[in-house]
């Protein structure tokens, strides 16, 4: 006797805690095996690019914060570098150093959220609390610098809104000193946890060729085994003055490019960011952080593509100027938007429970996917 079988369509999201925001995944299932994933996005769409066209160049900066709200400093940095390229402004060295310190602190804070929520997604709740405890201290550092904890409007065209607080250097050094043992603790608790490895190793393997063809960047690309980091390979700001490594996936627990590798690259990147912050704080030059801020921002006609290495990958701004005080067109190449495309490729042939493990390792922020 033959049993009639048919494929089933299952909706995951948009209101589902493990989709990290409002994302709907349309899963086609054969039994419990996934045959197709169709992501539906756009629930947070607010047309940032249209807003830009009616605002002046500095007014755009607070809006960039709201794209990848876990890495707002990086968003500001990318946009500001683009406008400075159009204006051909040379920024004081102290400003560049502070920008690097902020971007790296932000990278640690963002990776802590990625790692913490990843653990929580697949059942480990304690590391989540540990990660948020440490992230809280970074947010306190941002708060004494510019008054805001999440959306800063701190990095301005040609400078910064405030100089550092007198206590900033001391508090950052204290944070680094206390964060290092915490990171070891996190490794013992989550990274080398047997259950965690079973859930993530050999799940969602991303071969390098596929990753490049799909335009995947950031920790995901590095986990697939390519040493590619814009901080080194297309250097910006003052990153060429610091000594740091680019961790790549080695397939320690399974295959190169699996979910565990993507997770572990983020852990290693936090250590490298600490190295950069330590060096930058030691050699922080003196100077005025507001001296180079232009009174009137009116770039010449032209177009420029500026890009930075954000925690999630390459964040690019394609800015076209028509010679007026507001941009003619701003196109954002959001790393999460491009990385999310790969879901179908990664999930096919896995179980429903693995979708959560894979989506967590892709680490998306829907504010940036939908813009």
């Amino acid at each position: 006797m033959s049993v009639r079988t048919e494929e089933m369509v299952l909706n995951m999201g948009p209101q589902h805690p493990s989709t990290h925001g409002v994302l709907r995944l349309e899963l086609t299932l054969d039994g419990e095996i996934i045959t197709k994933v169709v992501p539906h996005i756009g629930y947070l769409h607010r047309c940032f690019e249209k807003h830009c066209e009616v605002m002046s160049y500095p007014q755009v900066i607070p809006y960039t914060d709201r794209m990848d709200y876990l890495a707002a400093m990086g968003n500001e940095l990318g946009y500001v570098i683009g406008v400075e390229k159009l204006l051909r402004i040379q920024v004081p060295e102290r400003v560049e150093y502070i920008r690097v310190i902020m971007a790296e602190l932000q990278r640690i804070a963002s990776h802590l959220v990625a790692i913490g929520t990843y653990g929580a997604d697949i059942g480990a709740f304690t590391p989540f609390l540990y990660c948020f405890r440490d992230r809280e201290r970074i947010l306190n550092l941002f708060e004494i610098t510019c008054g805001a904890r999440l959306l800063y409007n701190y990095i301005w065209v040609g400078g910064l809104s405030h100089d550092l607080h007198p206590d900033f250097v001391r508090l950052t050094k204290e944070f680094i000193k206390e964060f290092k043992p915490n990171l070891r603790e996190l490794n013992n608790l989550l990274t080398y946890n047997k259950i965690f490895i079973d859930r993530t190793a050999n799940v969602g393997i991303l071969p390098l060729e596929t990753a490049i063809n799909f335009g995947v960047t950031g920790p995901m690309l590095r986990a697939s085994g390519l040493k590619w980091d814009l901080r080194k390979d297309d250097t910006y700001s003052v990153y060429n003055k610091f000594d740091f490594d680019i961790p790549i996936g080695e397939g320690k627990m399974g295959t190169v490019g699996d979910s565990w590798d993507r997770y572990y690259v983020r852990v290693l990147e936090m250590e490298e960011s600490l190295k950069i912050i330590e060096q930058a704080i030691e050699t922080l030059p003196d100077g005025d952080v507001t001296s180079a801020i232009p009174k009137k921002i009116k770039p010449p006609v032209g177009h420029v593509y500026s890009r930075v290495e954000n925690p999630r990958g390459e964040l690019g701004y394609f800015i076209i100027s028509d010679g007026s005080t507001s941009p003619f067109r701003v196109k954002v190449r959001a790393p999460s938007f491009v990385n999310l495309q790969i879901m179908d490729e990664l999930c096919r042939g896995h179980l429903v429970a693995d979708v959560i493990a894979i989506l967590g390792s892709v680490d998306i922020v829907l504010g940036e996917v939908d813009r």
């Binding site: 490049i212 177009h303 067109r329 196109k331 495309q341």
Partner: protein, 176 residues
């Protein structure tokens, strides 16, 4: 690593009967203008040529050039007739570390461009976004649907410069 002039030279030699128009007198980033019906062939060549090897499409952005004739419609709104739309392609070779900017210019009233999804999968969502917000049709695209706007949106393309908000959407007043 190849310079912009060398890349133009290689392209001109291979595509002798296609118009390859380099623009290097611009202030910041020089680019090459390619006809919209040839872009997929040119991109395939750029990816597979052993000297160029542009294996990664970094960004694809559509732009409303807004250079046609301004006229008034029945309601007195200013709309644009004629003119062009552009699509910019930022390419990069991870192996050789060189970059290239291509530009395709198409008619604003009937924008049609060949899709490059068969060359780089990363262009899939970028092209859907350009279709969604600008109304550019990409020929041979495997899945050309709206992506950011609602699937039932029928009030035009928001990022066009002469876009007008509808008064109502599903019974809700739009400028609330």
């Amino acid at each position: 690593m190849k310079s912009f002039e060398e890349i133009v030279e290689i392209l001109k030699n291979y595509f002798s009967d296609t118009s390859i128009e380099p623009k290097s007198d611009v202030k910041f980033e020089p680019y090459i203008i390619i006809p919209p019906q040839e872009i997929d062939k040119v991109c395939l060549f750029l990816r597979d040529n052993s000297e160029l090897y542009f294996d990664s499409l970094v960004n694809l952005s559509a732009v409303d050039d807004f250079n046609g004739q301004k006229i008034k419609d029945e309601q007195g709104n200013e709309i644009m007739q004629g003119g062009t739309m552009s699509v910019y392609y930022h390419l990069e070779s991870i192996k050789y570390r060189h970059k290239l900017l291509l530009r395709v210019i198409t008619e604003r009233d009937n924008p049609v461009v060949n899709s490059v999804t068969s060359v780089w999968n990363s262009s899939n969502w970028h092209e859907r976004e350009a279709f969604d917000l600008f109304g550019i049709k990409f020929l041979n695209h495997p899945d050309l649907r709206r992506i950011l706007m609602p699937y039932d949106w029928e009030f035009g393309y928001p990022l066009r410069k002469d876009y007008q908000n509808p008064e109502f959407y599903q019974g809700m007043k739009v400028p609330y």
